[in-house]
Amino acid sequence: MAAPRFWRHIPARYNLIGTKCLTCGEYYFPPRTTCPACRRAGTIEECKFKGIGEVVTYTVIRSASDAFERQTPYVLAIVRLEEGPRLTTQIVCDPDEIEIGMKVCSVFRKITEESPEGVICYGTKFMPRGDLNE
């Protein structure tokens, strides 16, 4: 990932900064600049998600693209955040630990790197709750 492209997403990737429509109360992640339901009547404001959610579904990646090859096998899941939005994320646990419905919380991890010389992309992953005494 090119450095400027990664840099643009730092607020969302590091701190789960998304948006909320003040008109209808809907939360959005990744952030949206307009509310698709309220359209012109919508008022969008920035919102930091708590980083708590539940696994909706998952898969175990055993054959990954070059950028993620060293991390296999790893768990990729759709997580529903407490505020509502769903996102695709890695879950930091062994493949035999993951379950649908598992409560998870956000952690700060290395996502990938361009190359040994290139920029390192950091961001949010999720892990089973309890490991951090939360």
Partner: protein, 344 residues
Amino acid sequence: MSIGITSYGVYIPRYKIKVEEIARVWGDDPENIKSGLMVYEKSVPDIDEDTATIAVEAARNAVRRSNVDPKEIGAIYVGSESHPYAVKPTATMVAEAIGATPFLTSADFEFACKAGTAAIQACMGEVAAGLIKYGIAIGSDVSQAAPGDALEYTTAGGGAAYVIGKKDLIAEIEDTCSFTTDTPDFWRREGMSYPLHGGRFTGEPAYFKHIVSATKGLMIKVGAKPSDYDFVVFHQPNGKFPLRVAKTLGFTKEQIRPGLVVPMLGNTYSASSLIGLAAVFDGAEPGSRVLMTSFGSGAGSDSFSIVVKEKIDEMRDKAPTVQELLKGTKYLDYALYAKHKGMV
């Protein structure tokens, strides 16, 4: 007004490897190693963890354990000898990840295993001068050892973050004293993957001389003697060195034991004495007096005289303790350890 610690936070990776497993690969006698080093297992970072991610998690735990608004933090310094970039600060990532940007200063510190305590002193100076309200000093490392080197039994990963300020102190820093000389006991050249060391030369002229001198200098400065302290914490490259230096200085095993975390954690380099201090804070009563002395090869020691305040009882449970972070361990065999460390 006094200066001190407003909050602290620790992070320890959940993976570990036992001394027996490393000894199996190199044909060493594990009982010899364990009795020689007083280290039984060490933490290992996950594949996607490094000094930056550990520093962020420690800093987030420190913020969690306080009432500090991250926007009030005026400085973030990260001490490490394993920063992920040679050029590009770890501290900016921490600042962004805890929501302290953009009006603050930040930098990475490097002084082997004492870069974190040097960062505390820098924050103390800026707080005392009134330049900043709060500063965060972090020691974080994913320390490296060449496969088969004696260091491999101890090099671990972990981090500790301390919020330094004048308000809502959980502990007051009475004074600090440093002792620094040019002593090449341990080093890593630019671009090299693993450090080299002077074997026994890392002991007497390095670790012991600097810790003893800084600690004695501090006690003279504050007019204290070993028996005036409830707890003492020294840099912990293994279990034996801190016990020996404690005895040399006249401290008892009872004073050093609560902060001696290395046997089940390993040497977390820049975080070593700072995690030891956190372990003391996890259990210390208000009014307890603590002496902490770090050591960084190259070489230097920073010694601190600290008094625990009443506020600690209110804040302690807001973030995980060192003992809680050491639980839930997953043990790796040497092959997986090598993968985690990027050796294969």
